[in-house]
Symmetry: C2
Subunit: 324 residues, 2 copies
């Protein structure tokens, strides 16, 4: 049996992902309501909004109002997504937003081309410019991420060696620019990973960069999400992205096939039960998941919000046993 | 990294579980349609109906018609559930039904009392009578199963030693009656298991009975189902109960909290991708899952039926690469 880490950190991405994908408009106040509830669960890092073009992402036309409106709390890092300097400027102008820079690549040049109209070589230049932009604003660049790290819908299977090769190229910018990347984020963007391949890719990346922390960003497209988290735990990975209630994934009517991140409270449940600390209050988080469902107005994929935590059942069982 | 088994067997329970829990009536012909489709996927064992009191389980009032109507196929064992001699007699009277006897217990006397109005001691007597009934009809008694093997909603956590203790009592009937149990089925009846505790219970049972095959029957009440299957694979367990599309579990409107078996095609996907043979055609099975959803008329929990298999994407990627 493997040794699991004694503690993990969870980076909540539900609000940003979830409110982006929903077809109907969601009131700003309700977005803030969910963020405020999440802030009280013990989660330490929450992505709260997207500073993007409202013409392309109408769900985040109210990003400024949301960011202005939610309650800050000591020890909780609220951050936002941006895709260009304009977005970054908005984040800088906002109060109390946790700022860090990241650079990124993919394993698949086809996927990169479809997404950003770049090739690998061109992307290095773009990332170099990003770093310069962050440095100009005094923002530390601490994270490198790689998409389609397990497979690509256009290029098929991705060998672990290719993940290392592309990260090698990206992390070449570290020495060149003097940044200090401490987290490598491996994203299963389109749901190709299984527990076995999670272990293979994590192993290959850790062998090459033993001092960097690995983060897993796992989409639950084909039902392996939570098993992939467990495989990550078995490899000692202690940092996961996830979404409350499975927000952002909408496997039901009208969105068939689109699945988001693995569900935060399902991870917290599994960890709690296995003695892996998350610092998150599961029952409070389950309430957030139910709130998220109420806000979007349809079922979301999370399971433990329906099954319920075990703590109340345990308390009743103990009371019963003491009474008998 | 663990060695996974090279091959597993899956016992499909979707039709029996699913058509029992649905609130609305389902046409007999449609039940037969799903069973016939499942029979062509490569599944070797399918539970097709329940011979129970139609007053208590109206969904199976047409069990005789379903059993008469589905197509038999060489190499596929179709079987039915019964709970008493009357049900057994109906199964004996039916053509080409795979017959085997099983004995059962639970870890929790409270749960047993609520379910069957028996205590542990009384249950041994009932199981002894069951064995006599099977022996009278020349039916081999080959399976012993234990419910709430990881936890009970009334008694709380169940230590692995208690699972062994209760199985010890049940398997005492082997020597006494001359039966030969080859499968021990461990059921997570109410969704308390996690990968860690799956390993602990499987380890404890295997240490005590190294020559018996272990079967896992895992309900996905709290989202750990597929991770628990993976933990079973890591322990070398090569026999799983499951339900196509997650039939029987209905975590959506009207059935909140009721979750059934882990989803068959999600297990097959994970196994296929990890090189663990199942003998099942994933794409044919995905069609069955979609058919099941069409038959019940609402969304079911299975994931890979929405995300899709990877084989077509792989074929396209190879064609693209060859063309380039």
């Amino acid at each position: 049996m493997s040794d699991l880490p004694s503690r993990i950190d969870i980076q909540e991405e539900g609000p940003r992902e979830g409110f982006q994908i929903e077809p109907g408009p969601i009131a700003t106040a309700r977005k803030i309501e969910l963020i405020d509830a999440l802030t009280e669960t013990g989660l330490k890092k929450i992505q709260v909004a997207s500073y993007v073009n409202p013409k392309r992402v109408p769900g985040w036309a109210d990003a400024d109002e949301v960011v202005k409106g939610f309650k800050r709390k000591e020890g909780v890092a609220h951050h936002v997504l941006w895709l260009n300097e304009k977005g970054l400027q908005r984040a800088i102008a906002a109060d109390d937003i946790y700022m860090f820079g990241s650079i990124s690549t993919t394993t698949s040049e086809t996927f990169m081309g479809m997404n950003t109209n770049r090739g690998f070589k061109e992307n290095v230049g773009v990332q170099r410019n990003q770093i310069a932009m962050y440095q100009e604003h005094g923002i530390p660049v601490t994270r490198a991420s790689i998409m389609t790290a397990w497979g690509c819908n256009f290029e098929g299977d991705i060998p672990p060696a290719r993940v290392v090769e592309r990260l090698e190229e990206l992390l070449g910018l570290e020495a060149e620019t003097g940044i200090d990347i401490d987290i490598i984020s491996l994203a299963d963007t389109v749901g190709w990973a299984t527990p076995k391949s999670v272990k293979e890719v994590v192993g290959a990346v850790r062998n090459r960069w033993p001092d960097k922390r690995i983060c897993l960003h796992l989409h639950d497209t084909r039902g392996c999400g939570i098993a992939n988290v467990y495989a990550g735990l078995e490899m000692g990975v202690d940092l996961y992205d996830s979404s409350v209630a499975g927000l952002g994934g909408c496997p039901f009517a009208g969105h068939k096939g689109a699945a988001g991140n693995v569900t935060t409270e399902d991870i917290v449940f599994m960890c709690d039960e296995m003695g892996v600390e998350t610092g998150v209050d599961l029952e409070a988080l389950i309430e957030c998941a139910r709130l998220a469902e109420d806000i979007v107005g349809h079922d979301l994929p999370g399971k433990v919000m329906r099954g319920g935590a075990l703590s109340a059942l345990r308390r009743d069982a103990k009371a019963q046993a003491a009474h008998a």
